[in-house]
């Protein structure tokens, strides 16, 4: 049977067909939908973990218990999961263990564009890289087999265009007859103390040599000889662009990007006149090819930054480009917080209070955008609190009071909690605002340990965030309604003045939560045109439901208008209007 599947759907299908029993992840674009699709297969126990490190550790445990296990994350998630990754490469596996990492060249939804292939080499783990959805499914199956055959975790690298691209996939059946999981002690293999690790490390090195040799005859590494004047070594999505732009060139398509099949590369290089390596981001393959003593052209013609496209590849090879009609004079359309978003009033208040805001990763990072313009730093998941502590260590006592960290509920539980421990432990005077909207919103509304539901939609414990902060030792904990501007500004101002750690927690849910009885839409608001003076105060919150309309007679004075289809009745704009011109529609 054939279906059109995204790369992520196909990876989930591949895990199912491979007999995978456990799938664990922390959501992150562009990897999120893999676990949202494994839940369709009841044979797989799928769960969200608080962060990528825990997700990988859960998968490692399932593997050690004898079951096949999948762990998925976005590229930056591997930074969090790197600690277990670098040592599970030594222990190896019992049940097959596959780590899917989805890179984001061009940073469509990321803070950097690190190239995860370097992790495979660094952690000494084999890595497969599919070029379409069919390969996503097949390579995932194969990764489980290789994992057990070579006693190693296997990484599968995707990218935004692979994960979110769709193509036709031939579905297969789930494998049967895999050994049943059961406890089995093997401390020499699984307890990585120096004495044991010293025995394991050489085995890892031998494994990589064996895999490099085997790679020369594996079907996933494929030599396609056409015109031999140009030969291109490529992998992943770049293979598709090469076939599109240089249909006659010979290609060596690598399905395994670590370790590289040295003999196959030497053979291919000898068959073609001029050798190119086409890859996005780092010259990962190119440098290794050159280290084999082979002349090749790669990053001389393609960029280290961003993703490739057929057009960019055409330019790289000096091929003619079609004439392009310019359309760069149009106003931009940046993303924005939703109408009624509970974060809006908090950032409006922080802007008014002239706070120095250390930010974090989530929808609320959009608090950086004008007109809210209230975010001063953003580095990685969970970093806001540590950064706030650090800033207060160097600035004057007056400036210390201005330092505020903002962090979402999911990000706080991901890695922010450690920053809070440090803040209390070392008595930093900064203020932390936990923007608790009861969901992991930016990646598409996933549940988390504080939302009260599991990925499988089973009701579960919801972490009591105020109580957790209390247990950490925070003495000043305030829970506020972020849709009440007066309360929000007053409480933030009071806590900023305080010379010891304080935490403010907002208590309104994300407007997009679909579960019943979480978000309640209020009555729609409207502007009374007779009372509106055109002062533009309501525009300062940047709500997409409020539009400035110039006066019809062409005079300068215009008026505000509220789109009744977008308004959620959050009431924030009404509180800003000094002329009582905004009210709910009865």
């Amino acid at each position: 049977m054939k279906e059109i599947l995204s790369g992520n759907e196909a990876i989930a299908r591949g895990a199912y067909e491979a007999g995978c029993l456990v799938a664990c992840a922390y959501p992150g674009t562009p990897s999120t939908e893999i676990l949202e699709n494994t839940i369709a297969y009841k044979e797989i126990n799928s769960s969200w973990a608080p962060n990528e490190k825990v997700a990988l550790e859960v998968a490692i445990g399932a593997s050690f218990g004898g079951g096949r296990a999948l762990c998925t994350m976005k590229h930056v998630g591997v930074n969090v999961a790197a600690d277990p990754l670098f040592t599970v490469s030594y222990t190896g596996v019992r049940g097959g263990l596959v780590l899917v990492v989805a890179d984001d060249p061009e940073m469509h939804s990321s803070q950097n564009e690190q190239d995860s292939r370097n992790y495979a080499k660094f952690a000494k783990v084999p890595m497969l890289e599919p070029s379409d959805s069919q390969e996503c499914k097949e390579f995932t199956r194969l990764a489980f087999d290789l994992s057990e055959q070579y006693d190693t975790p296997v990484m599968l690298r995707s990218s935004t265009r692979i994960s979110h691209g769709k193509s036709i996939v031939e579905l297969g059946e789930r494998v049967t007859g895999l050994p049943l999981p059961k406890l089995e002690k093997n401390p020499a293999k699984l307890v990585m103390l120096p004495g044991n690790a010293k025995v394991r490390h050489p085995l890892v090195e031998q494994n990589l040599v064996a895999l490099s040799k085997a790679g020369a005859t594996m079907a996933l590494n494929r030599m396609e000889l056409r015109d031999k004047s140009i030969g291109v070594i490529t992998a992943g999505i770049c293979y598709q662009y090469v076939r599109e732009v240089l249909p006659n060139a010979s290609t060596l398509k690598l399905g395994m990007v670590h370790p590289l099949p040295r003999n196959l590369i030497l053979e291919f290089a000898a068959k073609v006149d001029k050798l190119y390596v086409i890859e996005e981001l780092d010259p990962f393959i190119e440098e290794q090819v050159k280290a084999m003593g082979i002349a090749a052209i790669g990053k001389d013609i393609t960029s280290l930054c961003g993703e490739l496209t057929p057009g960019r590849l055409r330019s790289a090879f000096g091929l003619p480009q079609p004439a392009v009609i310019p359309a760069d004079d149009l106003p931009g359309r940046p993303p924005n917080m939703c109408p009624g978003c509970p974060h809006r009033g908090v950032f409006f208040s922080l802007n008014q209070l002239k706070a120095y805001v250390t930010g974090d990763i989530g929808c609320y990072t959009l608090g950086f955008m004008p007109p809210l313009s209230a975010m001063d730093t953003c580095v990685c998941m969970g970093a806001s609190i540590g950064m706030a502590t650090g800033v207060t260590k160097v600035v004057s006592d007056t400036e210390k009071k201005r330092v505020v960290a903002v962090i979402g509920d999911s990000t706080f539980l991901h890695t922010g909690i450690n920053g809070l421990m440090d803040m209390v432990y070392n008595n930093s005077p900064a203020t932390v605002i936990i923007l608790d909207n009861s969901i992991t919103a930016m990646t598409g509304r996933q549940d988390n340990p504080a939302s009260g539901f599991t990925l499988m939609d089973v009701p579960t414990n919801a972490i009591d965030i105020p109580l957790l902060c209390k247990a950490v030792g925070v003495k000043n904990i305030r829970v506020i309604n972020p849709l009440d501007l007066e309360e929000t500004k007053r409480v933030i101002s009071e806590e900023m003045e305080r010379s010891e750690p304080s935490v403010i927690i907002t208590n309104k849910p994300c407007v997009l939560i679909k579960r019943d009885d979480v978000f309640h839409k209020g009555p729609v608001y409207a502007v009374d045109a007779d009372k509106c003076t055109g002062c533009r105060a309501c525009l300062k919150i940047g709500c997409p439901a409020i539009e400035w309309r110039p006066a019809e007679d062409g005079s300068k004075k215009g008026k505000a208008h509220i789109d009744p289809l977008l308004c959620t009745g959050c009431d924030v704009c009404r509180q800003l209007c000094k002329f009582d011109a905004i009210g709910s529609v009865k």
């Binding site: 054939k2 059109i4 674009t29 562009p30 469509h108 939804s109 379409d132 935004t160 265009r161 979110h164 691209g165 769709k166 193509s167 036709i168 999505i237 598709q240 662009y241 076939r243 599109e244 732009v245 249909p247 496209t309 057929p310 057009g311 055409r314 480009q321 079609p322 004439a323 392009v324 009609i325 310019p326 359309a327 004079d329 149009l330 106003p331 931009g332 359309r333 940046p334 993303p335 924005n336 917080m337 939703c338 929808c363 959009l366 955008m369 007109p371 930016m442 990646t443 598409g444 533009r536 525009l539 940047g542 997409p544 409020i546 539009e547 400035w548 110039p550 215009g558």
Partner: protein, 192 residues
């Protein structure tokens, strides 16, 4: 080779239902026996940003994204986004656009005006330009939310996929309770 590939771009604003329309199109192409690839960016764009979905079908499709300047059909859900995507279209390509304006933040805040003369700009460069009042036609069909399907019907007339495959794709992708209205909206679009 690229002559055998049909390149369709679907553009608009996050939340307009672009992904569903491109799924229906891809499904119809697969049912008609073509190789199909499709690509778009999720994530941040969900929050009111631009959305561009690429659908390509033919005997064998390599790149999932339409090479710049090779688009055959531009399917615009919003006027300004339609004009923004014109560089992706080939000379002599077709434009089917919904006559709908959604203001971006700078317009909402009164910093700039929504650009004027957009339809003239399209018409000046593309002779096959169909501007559709999708909202009105959809409400005639029974539900304003079927506007995308009206436009999809108009797009379908410009593609070599038989009507039966479109209907099968609609039956697979559209919820049962909205199916009749969407079939009606699709037929209205085809007759434009």
């Amino acid at each position: 080779m690229s002559e055998q590939i049909k390149n369709i771009l679907l553009v608009g604003v996050g939340g307009q239902g672009i992904l569903l329309a491109s799924e229906i199109l891809s499904e119809a192409a697969m049912l008609a026996g073509f190789d199909v690839k499709k690509s778009e960016i999720h994530g941040m764009s969900q929050r009111g940003g631009c959305v561009v979905s690429h659908v390509r079908y033919g005997t064998e499709v390599f790149s999932p994204i339409v090479p710049e300047g090779e688009g055959d059909i531009l399917f615009g859900f919003e006027l300004m986004e339609t004009v923004r995507a014109l560089p992706l279209l080939k000379p002599g390509g077709s434009v089917v656009a919904n006559d709908l304006q959604i203001s971006p933040p700078s317009v909402l805040m009164g910093q700039v005006s929504y650009p004027e003369g957009l339809t003239g700009r399209i018409r000046a460069q593309f002779t096959d330009f169909l501007l559709v009042d999708g909202q009105k036609m959809a409400s005639d069909a029974g539900n304003v939310r079927a506007a995308n399907t009206v436009l999809l019907g108009a797009v379908s007339k410009r593609l070599d996929i038989a009507e039966e495959f479109w209907v099968k794709a609609l039956e697979k992708m559209v919820p049962l309770k909205a199916l009749d209205i969407n079939k009606c909206a699709f037929r209205m679009g085809r007759e434009l």
